[in-house]
């Protein structure tokens, strides 16, 4: 029996590590030392100002850790540490404080004496509020459904020809309990459209529909399912589901939006893993601990390194002032992503206090945190407040791929490096000094030219030395330089340290035979093994439920990302356990699971409503019919391109973001405009569009694209007028409509009726009724004659495309140019009345609600 660790802790914690001194020492600090720090240093080095150079002096840990140039104070040793050095610096430009009264000799003596004497700091007594909920936690551990061991229920024995596989037994048993009848089956045209979209995110072609409708073999449907499961498009569609969960994004998001130029390698890794049907347990292990798994060759090593992008491509606040907070915020982001994606638990709530609803004490959180603080996040970034240009980029903080990197030309590199060293020295000397800030004849600070020269040389050196610039790097993680347990942070505040907690896993449930963390490693590998242990009660349930929700519109547990007490309870608990345990027995195979689900009778029902059932179960939780679902943003775009014959089905290499340097992208800058243009021009599947955070492709934006900030298992489905405006007026929609219109008109032998039929088949994937044909023909006739008398507006071409993005060059990164590089709106028009009428008609099909739903 595992001993729960939460209640064993001392309740009072000291926030300064071993810092408390004798009363005399503290008195000396308060009288002689703190006033100097407050009066002479706080303006630039405290939590309420900026920690210039990364240093804060209002916190002992801040002094000990120091800033960019190392520790400011080494207790007991005044000769070390930058604090005294900078106060006494020979060069007045470098001497602290830069402005205001200098530190007096008496003050300097006091600081020196204080450091020599051990740098005592008053001990702050804080109650660490943990363990109070232990009794409640024990009850929840014992009772909450999701924490109970996985069972393997027998499917109900029912004698009914309605039952086609075991899934149906569970569904029909419940329906019978409630005296409800399932509706009729879906017809084949509806079914192939549903299945093709669900499995591949694409519409069936007219030929595929015809073939399926005509296929009289008893296993026609099964053949269809297997064909679709084999298709690479299955992987593209289901990878997108996982990327939603993995909060995939190609930049850091808020504060300073820094691109992740190599994130696409993680995207491609996911597609490839699903295409190969890598077992889900292995898939999770690769993403959490790929760098720690054995690899047979360099290609496999690189694949596993790319997998760890999962932990690296989250949103980050690179403008964070304090390294410690930057680290702990990123650790929190990793904990949240890992636990909610695989376990559907909101473990992050326990960062500041014991979880209020679920049995996750703060000690569990920091047991996990120790695993991630022992891991080096190699996203290629460092934190810095008020940085510019490449300040946030740290090329050493990327994972270099094992493929061989050719060496750079040595002479050229040596020359550039010496120039760079000089430029840096000059820039450091003038930066922020009165001389540097004085304006030159152009009205710009004199220091600017020094910075520009320094940055230009930085770029040049990097282009030779940086494996990333040369395409040999990924964002990922590796083992940290320091491996060890971490301390609880009081109320989640990064600097306020409580007791140290041994690294470990959650105590909400027990996983028998869970591995012990290797003390010489971070513990990620063991964490991954603990998560994917067949006896972990959550992992398989959570994943099976995610898959179910994509095929049936709603999860068996409707809160797919929350299996805690605040989440929903399963509508069919036995079915969930049956599927989860079968999933494990079947080798954690996604394709087999999907196959089982879509082969069921339940999946193949029509979406018809029945008044009696509607009354009893309006939400269709019992699955008496198939719930219609909205197409997601990517499907809408892909289906338009596909129907217009313009979709490029082969995958592209990389992403439009991969050409970017790790320099801030602004919403109105050339970089974001070039991303929008790349997205507008692209005819690849939507999963390959550039997906920098906050710069959502215009063709996805109206249809509730995923937010890219948190684990998201279920898309929103809103109905807003901007969707209607997009469908009525956007260049993208009209361009596809015009392409299809012209292609229908290109064969002069076709009759209007044949063209209408073909349009319906391509766009709505069905044949029109005779009434619909008549209505369309009437519309076309009216429109054509109206356009013949009054021709459509002359088309307006899009502005010429832009040169590749250049790094921005603001004097001050917080004070950027606000000029909008407005995205021109292209007006797409036909060049003759007939094609204009057909354009309007095809566009109406795209705009119809039917196009946006599968039934």
């Amino acid at each position: 029996m595992t001993a729960y660790r939460s209640y064993a802790l001392a309740l009072v914690a000291s926030t300064a590590l071993y810092a408390a001194g004798s009363p005399e020492q503290i008195e000396f600090f308060e009288k002689k030392v703190r006033p100097v720090l407050v009066n002479k240093c706080y303006a630039c080095h405290s939590a309420e100002t900026k920690p210039a150079g990364g240093l804060r002096v209002d916190d002992r840990n801040g002094l000990l850790r120091g800033g960019e140039s190392g520790p400011a104070v080494v207790p007991g040793n005044p000769a070390q540490g930058t604090l005294l050095k900078r106060i006494q610096h020979q060069d007045p430009k470098r001497r602290m404080p830069k402005e205001g009264d200098p530190v007096t000799d008496a003050e300097l003596a006091a600081l020196t004496a204080w450091i020599r004497d051990g740098a005592a700091w008053p001990d702050e007594q804080v109650r660490l509020d943990t363990g109070r909920l232990e009794a409640a936690y024990q009850r929840i551990r014992a009772r909450h459904w999701a924490f109970q061991p996985l069972t393997s229920p027998q499917p109900p024995a029912l004698n009914s020809s309605w039952v086609w596989n075991d899934v149906d037994r569970f569904i029909l048993a419940k329906l019978r309990e409630r005296k409800l009848q399932p509706v009729r089956d879906a017809d084949r045209v509806t079914l192939i459209r549903r299945l093709t979209f669900d499995l591949t995110g694409l519409p069936p072609t007219p030929a595929e529909t015809d073939a399926f409708v005509a296929d009289k073999r008893p296993d026609a449907y099964e053949r269809l399912v297997d064909r679709l499961l084999q298709s690479r498009h299955f992987a593209e569609r289901w990878a997108r589901h996982w990327l939603d969960v993995a909060r995939y994004g190609e930049s850091t998001g808020p504060s300073r939006n820094i691109p992740y130029p190599h994130a696409w390698r993680y995207r491609d890794y996911v597609i490839d893993a699903i295409d190969r049907d890598i077992p889900f347990n292995r898939f999770i292990e690769e993403q959490i601990a790929g760098d720690l798994l054995p690899a047979a060759d360099a290609a496999e090593r690189d694949r596993l390194l790319a997998a760890t992008g999962f932990l690296a491509i989250g949103p980050k606040d690179v403008n964070q002032r304090f390294k410690e907070r930057f680290v702990m915020d990123n650790v929190d982001e990793q904990i949240d992503t890992v636990t909610r994606s695989t376990l559907a638990l909101t473990v992050s709530c326990a960062r500041c206090h014991d979880h209020k609803f679920d049995p996750v004490p703060i000690t569990d959180y920091y047991a996990l945190a120790g695993i991630f603080t022992s891991t080096e996040l190699a996203a290629g970034l460092r934190n810095k407040m008020g940085g510019a240009g490449l300040d946030y980029y740290d090329h050493k903080a990327l994972i270099t791929l094992t493929s061989t990197v050719p060496p750079p030309p040595a002479d050229k590199l040596a020359r550039l490096q010496s120039e760079l060293a000089i430029a840096k020295k000059e820039w450091d000397a003038i930066r922020g000094t009165p001389e540097g800030l004085a304006l030159d004849s152009n009205g710009r600070p004199k220091q600017r030219q020094y910075r520009l020269r320094y940055e230009r040389l930085q770029f040049e050196v990097l282009s030779l030395t940086d494996p990333a610039t040369r395409g040999y790097a990924v964002h990922g993680v590796r083992e940290g330089k320091e491996i060890g347990d971490t301390a609880i942070r009081i109320r989640g505040q990064a600097e306020r340290l409580g007791p140290v907690v041994p690294r470990g896993f959650l105590t909400a449930f027990t996983v028998p035979n869970a591995p012990k963390i290797n003390p010489a490693q971070s513990g990620r590998l063991e964490l991954a093994q603990w998560i994917t242990n067949p006896q972990n009660p959550l992992t398989a349930r959570v994943f099976v439920n995610r898959v179910w929700s994509h095929l049936f519109g709603k999860g068996i547990v409707s809160t797919v990302d929350n299996f805690g007490r605040n989440g929903d309870r399963p509508s069919h608990p036995e079915l969930l356990d049956y599927l989860a345990s079968k999933f494990i027995r079947d080798g954690w195979s996604l394709k087999r699971l999907v196959r089982d689900l879509v082969m069921s009778h339940t999946y193949r029902l029509s979406a018809d409503k029945l008044a009696a059932n509607q009354e009893a179960d309006p939400e269709n939780r019992l699955l008496w019919r198939h719930s219609p679902r909205r197409l997601e943003a990517e499907e809408i775009r892909d289906a338009m391109l596909a129907s217009a014959g313009r979709l490029e089905l082969r995958p592209p290499a990389g992403s439009a973001v991969s050409q970017f340097k790790m320099v801030e992208i602004r919403d109105n800058g050339l970089e974001s405009r070039s991303l929008h243009e790349a997205a507008d021009r692209s005819v690849y599947r939507s999963i390959y569009l550039p997906l920098a955070r906050g710069i959502t492709p215009r063709s996805l934006e109206p249809f509730d694209p995923v937010s890219q900030t948190l684990v998201t298992g279920q898309r929103d489905g809103t109905t807003v007028p901007t969707q209607a405006l997009y469908l009525l007026n956007s260049a993208f929609v009209r361009r596809q409509a015009l392409a299809l219109a012209n292609s229908l008109l290109s064969d002069p032998k076709r009759t209007t009726e044949q063209r209408i039929r073909q349009a319906y088949r391509l766009v709505l994937n069905r044949l029109p009724t005779s009434r619909e044909i008549a209505r369309a023909a009437a519309f076309l006739k009216t429109a054509e004659s109206a356009y013949a008398t009054k021709p459509p507006k002359a088309p307006v071409a899009a502005a010429a495309s832009l040169p590749p993005p250049q790094p921005d060059d603001p004097d001050d990164p917080d004070n950027v140019d606000r000029t909008e590089y407005a995205l021109p709106e292209e007006s797409v028009q036909a060049d003759n009345a007939r094609s204009a009428a057909w354009l309007d008609f095809i566009q109406a099909l795209y705009a119809s609600a039917e196009f946006r739903f599968i039934r």
């Binding site: 808020p254 300073r256 602004r666 929103d716």
Partner: protein, 448 residues
Amino acid sequence: MLTPRSVLPSRRTLLRSAGAGFGYLAFSAMLQAANKPLASKQPHFRPRAKRIIFLFMEGAMSSLDTFEYKPELVKNAGKSGPGGGVLTPSKFQFKQYGQSGSWFSELLPNIAKHADELCWIRGLHTDTPAHPQAVVQLHTGSANAALTRPSMGAWLLYGLGTENQDLPGYVTINPPPNFGGAVNYGSAFLPAQYQGTRISDSGFLPNLKPASSARMQRNQLDLIQAMNRDLAASPDAPEPVDGIIESYELAFRMQGKLPELLDISTEPQHVLDAYGVKPGPEGSFARQCLMARRLTEAGVRFVEICQGGWDHHTNLHKGLIERCRQIDQSTSALLTDLAQRGLLDETLVLFGSEFGRLPMAQGPDGRDHNITGYAMFLAGAGVKKGFSYGATDELGVRAVEGRMHTNDLHATLLALMGLDHKQLTYRYAGRDFRLTDVAGEVHDAIFA
């Protein structure tokens, strides 16, 4: 009163009748209750204001050079300030205005004329002295990068709905291109209909321009709606089809109305002159002020306009002259115009930045950030006139009286709009979220 289900015709029946010539308007009215997340909603208590216009001075306008007069700062000029640095009073002349005797510097002669209408909050403070986080916190209540929160306009729409169904309820003009960008007007985990509609300072909104003539597009729309009604009448109709039908009509009306509303060129010359409307960046804020007045008049719940470029670490003197010239006349004109049209009785105006600047100099001509004490002003509906609440210390460093954190500001704004910030919650990722997170106190001392 509850209506028994059977008495009302089902929506399905309605839709069939609609297809058979039943008036669209009647049909639409009957759908309203079921289908309009943006329909006007009951506030928690009697609102003091119905709409907000937020004039956002992005970059942190120096209050000590504009509307915070500190005689002690003048007396102590040249001395070392708290925490280091040289105390440096403003180079601009201050004087008192109106009955209230509020101090303004010579940079804001026009806003100063409204001295007796303004309600100052001078004890503000926030958490992070960096724009990217502070701007996001001012707009969403939290600077947590990993969990983006809904913006305050989104919360307002979620709580109150909108008054004009033909227009977006929340419009942001010329928002910051960085510092969180779209986060500042996003809906985050609230449903997307609550997000702000972003418009450029020349009144541009994507996809608003009809792709074809009104007649041709109406024909096309009729075909779309006929198809939609067929679908709605089928036995396997998806539920949201009714909403989609409605959204097309709204979009069509919006497409007619919004461009007209944003076209300020139709205003009489004396109005354009009063605001100081000009083309180009110099007239940006004036155009925004005028668009804001027009949108507010049409019933838009929350309008934010933005003037950037206040981050004067350097070039404080000339920079302030230039910036203030761009906003002083137009802000004053907006206040006058709103008052003359009787809109100020229902509209709350908020003016200010994400934080303030220090009384100590930075370099030869600059000031650094100050999050420990700064000011904003309110005007119009629900707040006292010619009133000042809270204060910083005598040097203007730290808020010492009427201290208001960003969360308190949000709680107070919601209260003015009739919403209890503790009740306005949305459940997401397993917990209830609020604009004010777990803090926030309503400062009702400023209520009229």
